[in-house]
Amino acid sequence: MTASQMPLLSAQDLARTYSIRRGMAGRVTNVRAVDGVTLTIARGETLGLVGESGCGKSTTARLVLGIERPDEGQVRFDGAPMPGSGSPGWAALRKRMQLVFQDPLSALDRRLPVGLQIREPLEIHRMGTPAEQNARVAEVMEEVGLQPHHADRHPHALSGGQRQRAVIARALVTQPDLLVCDEPISALDVSIQAQVMNLLVELQERLGMGMLFVSHDLRAVRQISHRVAVMYLGRIVEEGAPDEILHAPAHPYSQALVSAIPHPGKTARRIVLQGDPPNPADRPPGCAFHPRCPVTAMRCRTETPLLKPRPSDGRRVACHVAQGEVAPGHVGQLELS
């Protein structure tokens, strides 16, 4: 790799554990929200991160942005390690990496006109004179397709799509190198989802930022990403090109995910996963997916599979069965009932 090919962002073995105290009794439980995640994002590349609720996607996003410190592992941005949260170096980095939130309404201060909020990063990082800031705000608003008069509106006076555009404009106003979108469309209406996805694709192509796109909607991820990583309970269980994963998912969880995509006129049966969504505070031993996995084998219960290229086609997947290391079992469902 030459210098320019060096990934914009690389994360190595990130892990993050939260302690939560339950009630006045004060029993402390540890929640391992992220458990050894490694990922890289190049300039101009979009990485899609999918997985069900609570699997650690947002935590990964926060770790990658340096909003939180990983307990283990390291994040390197532009080749340099991430400075500690709150330090001057960290604050300065904020203008180079930005976050787009899931729910635009709650990510915006409902008491300030959006124009002022879009401008805020410039004020915080003292970028330019007030006049220049105004010009930049106007420019970025146009970029995301907001009209100048929208600047004076309060968030609630904008439509969902316009709100998310405002959030994106706020993220883009400092011309960041990395944009992390944490479920930017799941709170939106179908027709607005399309608007926002179009916008993100277009902006990313035009501005060439690196982008981490977090979602649980595989359809949307396919629409946007160059590469997709599937997460389950704090780990990446599969990684590959969107169409590969969507059409030939290797990991049983990915398979369930893909089969669950609702589709007009669909005929294929979906794989309905049994049991509860996993509880990160009570992580099963071995492969974390094994209690819900339709093809669990004995080994899955004891040995955690590693994310590595599959011998057959080089797909990176963390599954003993997909790797062909063991034969698929059929005991999973019986055990649960």
């Binding site: 069900e52 609720s53 609570g54 439509s159 969902g160 799509g161 316009q162 209406d189 179908v190 027709s191 607005i192 989802q193 399309a194 608007q195 996805m197 179009n198 694709v201 277009e202 649980h216 909607d217 595989l218 359809r219 949307a220 396919r222 629409q223 169409d243 969507l246 059409h247 369930a256 995910l257 089969s259 669950a260 995509i261 609702p262 589709h263 007009p264 006129g265 669909k266 979906r270 794989i271 309905v272 996963l273 049991g275 509860d276 969504p277």
Partner: protein, 328 residues
């Protein structure tokens, strides 16, 4: 006569109309999908039917349940209907469950009201219901408070509560938006199973055509307080006759094939208080013609059992009479 017959129902909050004349019917055992953008009035329709809107809402029209009028009915008529004959699953489970009561208690309340179950039998039934909706370890979970459960679990508690009264019709208001795909699949599956087993009717409210299409045999598309298209599921996808329906379908990212720019519907739903002249969709419609801003189009029969309220929709050549389910 249909099991539930809504005729020309309108709802207004102050001077802002939220529903502008809706006619809809649901047969026994039928699964009807109700789709449309956020705020188009999907929830209101059924809240109004059951008399659950705040007093400030002005409700007009008629809702007949087996021929009994519900609009303006006395509490003694409405109370047995609510939860007993027509049950509702609300949109936002976390805030729709009382935070200070155990979920088992909340379900048991419905059992006591509609099935006269109390004490141990009620408790057994609560556990059976929770089990049925797929809450593991139902015995202990029955004693949990809503905040101790995840969003998905609360959603399933809502479903169990709705099922407790053994309703003849279940109105499920976006039962899966709060959930991720795998759990959504579980829930849809469950609803299908119950329907098959008990012959319960289902109204599935959603804004996701994909979700509705998998569950329902008939779909009604709503826009700005009106039903703009109504047909069998397959027909909607095969032959969407209203530009809004087409917009909804186009906005869905394809699952295969080349990736291209999605066709989004520009603009947003008009505010209730500032409804445009003519067709409410006209300002956003790429196919609008001059007449669209003048005439509010009536529904026309595009083909058998397929109605669309668009000025450009061509009526079926076969001169079928307007079916019973008239659109306003």
């Amino acid at each position: 006569m249909a099991f539930v017959q809504i005729r020309d129902m309108s709802v207004a909050f102050g001077s802002a109309p939220a529903l502008r004349g809706i006619s809809l019917s649901v047969e026994r055992g039928e699964a009807l999908g109700l789709v449309g953008e956020s705020g188009c009035g999907k929830s209101i329709t059924w809240l109004a039917a059951l008399g659950l809107l705040p007093r400030s809402a002005k409700v007009g029209g008629s809702v007949l349940l087996d021929g009994v009028e519900l609009i303006g009915a006395s509490p003694s008529v409405l109370e047995p209907v609510r939860g007993g004959r027509i049950a509702m699953i609300f949109q936002d489970p976390a805030s729709s469950l009382n935070p200070v009561h155990r979920i088992g208690h909340q379900i048991a309340e419905a059992l006591a009201l509609h099935r006269g179950l109390t004490g141990a039998p009620a408790r057994a039934e609560v556990i059976r219901l929770l089990d049925q909706v797929g809450i593991p370890d139902a015995k202990t979970r029955a004693n949990a408070y809503p905040h101790e459960l995840s969003g998905g679990q609360n959603q399933r508690v809502m479903i169990a509560m709705a099922l407790a009264g053994e309703p003849e019709l279940l109105v499920a208001d976006e039962p899966t938006t709060a959930l991720d795909v795998t759990i959504q699949a579980q829930i849809l599956d469950l609803l299908g199973t119950i329907r098959r087993d008990t012959g319960m009717g289902l109204v599935l409210i959603s804004h996701d055509l994909g979700v509705v299409s998998e569950t329902c045999s008939r779909i009604a598309v709503m826009y700005a307080g009106r039903i703009v298209e109504q047909a069998e599921s397959a027909a909607i996808f095969a032959n969407p006759s209203h530009p809004y329906t087409r917009g909804l379908l186009g906005a869905m990212p394809p699952i295969s094939g080349p990736r291209q720019k999605l066709v989004s519907i520009p603009g947003s739903v008009p505010e209730a208080s500032r409804m445009p002249q003519g067709c409410a969709f006209a300002p956003r419609c790429s196919e609008a013609i001059a007449d669209c801003t003048r005439v509010d189009p009536a529904a026309v029969t595009v083909e058998a059992n397929h109605l669309a309220a668009c000025i450009r929709a061509t009526p079926a050549k076969t001169g079928t009479r307007t079916p019973e389910r008239v659109l306003a």
